[in-house]
């Protein structure tokens, strides 16, 4: 086993472990921190795949911004009292069914998936580099790219509208 493969297995072990810890931890803050660790290990996978841009963007967007907001919101919550409502039998059963269904779907998808063989003729190690990614995005997929940007713009305008003070409303 060469070093890249053993590193891959180590990273995968860490990823799965921290992902399990997200679910298992009782303290929501710990959950969020484990989730951040999961994102880091995922970025490690991207770097192993020579997709450095994706790795950096994953860290900036998810670990750097979204998870900070998660942590931000959870810190405001009072976690001292356990919420009894979330522990009724009904919710437990519902959670089991939803989780089990997801697992079945994922397992089915995994069984049907075919791992393509490595073709040295077509293999391009530079495919994940930022220049190639840029060419792909702005040449082959220009229209979807622009549509996504419009979608984001609409979402942004919506957020501004929601955050706007209405006439006569006072916050403090």
């Amino acid at each position: 086993m060469n070093s890249a493969v053993s590193f891959f297995y180590f990273l995968s072990f860490l990823t799965v472990l921290s992902a399990v810890m997200v679910v298992v931890s009782r303290n929501p803050i710990h959950s969020v921190l484990y989730l951040i660790l999961t994102f880091f290990t995922l970025s490690g996978h991207y770097i192993l795949l020579n997709a450095q841009f994706l790795a950096a963007v994953n860290i900036i967007v998810y670990a750097g911004a979204i998870m900070v907001l998660f942590l931000f919101v959870i810190m405001f919550l009072n976690m001292k009292q356990d919420n009894e409502e979330s522990k009724t039998n009904l919710t437990k059963v519902a959670a089991t069914i939803v989780g089990g269904t997801l697992f079945v779907i994922l397992f089915g998808a995994y069984r049907k998936s075919v791992i393509p063989e490595l073709d040295p003729q077509q293999f391009d190690s530079q495919i994940g580099m930022i220049e190639n990614l840029g060419h792909l995005l702005f040449r082959d997929y220009l229209l979807p790219f622009e549509l996504v940007s419009i979608l984001l713009l609409v979402a942004m305008v919506g957020a501004v509208m929601l955050g706007k003070r209405e006439i006569g409303e006072r916050h403090f």
């Binding site: 921190l33 951040i36 450095q52 841009f53 860290i59 900036i60 911004a65 942590l71 810190m75």
Partner: protein, 359 residues
């Protein structure tokens, strides 16, 4: 990667690491000196000549204090807070190009930890993580003031990261590369980005003040409102790490500013000096000497910006919280977007016109 290359890289990274620590250490001394001088005082001058041993004395004091953890604090996260702050602060120095190359027996050794094609994105990502140390530490202290400081730090960093990223995009549009080494190389010959991006520079430096939690944006540790902010409960070397991380961040951001806007290791008359040195000492020694001069110039620029940080700290009072948010969201972000539009138009229309006119 063969062994020599690996060893050289390890040595470079070690040197960069030590250099960052030493500069951060002496920034604490410099801060107190600058504060003293600006307030017509002398600053520390008892430990060693001119107080030069003051950082060592401070470190000794910090280490020998009791390492106290509050009873109701979350013990692991309480320790993880300062560690994370230190870790993220130190990570960023890996990609900064401190100079061009050294030639040793035909080997070209770049004065840069890692030459990465996503250099600036890497720095940006690491800086974005810097807030975790503060948030985790502030939450784990189990103290309302610490929590408020942590929350302020989080919202401030997220707000100013947006404007910072947008002002960076204008630079990237001009350089069309994310690699810091490439960006520096393009500014060769007095072609510094500051002349093309004055507005972007002002936005960037304001945002880096906010990202480093420096005055006038030091609301997370605002003494008058929050006792000590996120490090209220910290003492001993854990507090020392928090303060130290701030100074490392200051050095990193000063270095990044000089790389992005002030040409890094480039200086006027560089080519002339290079030819003189290579003629005088031969290609190898002359090249190395020229590189050393460039590195000294780079550090001069970075140290000037560290001084600028301190200068501003002892000049401007702290913003109020709503002023901070208004400045970030309502002024800097629209300005940055305007800057992007102007830059885009200039790159598309003005640049071909000027090049056509010049030829």
């Amino acid at each position: 990667m063969d062994l020599t290359e690996f060893l050289i890289k390890t040595a470079t990274i070690f040197v960069v690491f030590v250099l960052t620590l030493v500069i951060a250490m002496y920034s604490t001394w410099g801060e107190r000196k600058v504060a003293g001088f600006i307030q017509d005082r002398m600053g520390p001058n008892r430990a060693g000549p001119g107080g030069l041993l003051q950082p060592l004395a401070d470190a000794g004091k910090m280490f020998f204090k009791e390492d106290f953890i509050p009873a109701l604090a979350n013990k692991w996260l309480f320790i993880a807070g300062p560690s994370l702050a230190m870790l993220t602060a130190l990570l960023a120095s890996a990609v900064i190009p401190f100079g061009s190359t050294f030639r040793i027996n035909g080997h070209e050794v770049a004065l840069q930890g890692v030459e990465s094609n996503i250099g600036i994105l890497y720095v940006f990502g690491v800086v974005a993580l810097g807030v975790y140390g503060i948030m985790v530490g502030g939450w784990a202290s189990n103290n309302k003031f610490s929590l408020l400081g942590a929350i302020r730090a989080a919202s401030q960093n997220i707000s100013y990261e947006v404007a910072m990223g947008l002002s960076l995009i204008a630079i990237l549009m001009m350089s069309s590369s994310l690699s810091l080494g490439e960006i520096v190389a393009q500014q060769h010959g007095g072609n510094w980005n500051i002349f093309y991006q004055p507005l972007g520079f002002i936005i960037f430096i304001t945002c880096s003040f906010a990202e480093c939690n420096r005055v006038p944006f030091d609301l997370p540790e605002c003494e008058t409102e929050l006792v000590g902010g996120y490090h209220t409960e910290y003492g001993s070397m854990k507090l020392g790490f928090y303060l130290f991380a701030e100074y490392i961040n200051m050095f990193i951001s000063s270095a990044i500013i000089s790389v992005l806007y002030f040409g890094g290791y480039n200086y006027p008359g560089m080519d002339w000096v290079y030819t003189q040195l290579t003629q005088a000492f031969g290609t190898e020694t002359g090249h190395n000497a020229a590189t050393l001069i460039g590195t000294a110039v780079f550090f001069g620029k970075a140290l000037f910006f560290i001084f600028f940080y301190m200068w501003v700290r002892w000049t401007i009072p702290r913003f109020r919280y709503d002023q901070l948010m208004n400045l970030g969201w309502k002024k800097l972000i629209p300005l940055a977007i305007f800057n992007i539009i102007i830059t885009g138009a200039a790159v598309l229309f003005l640049k071909p016109m000027i090049t056509a006119w010049l030829n």
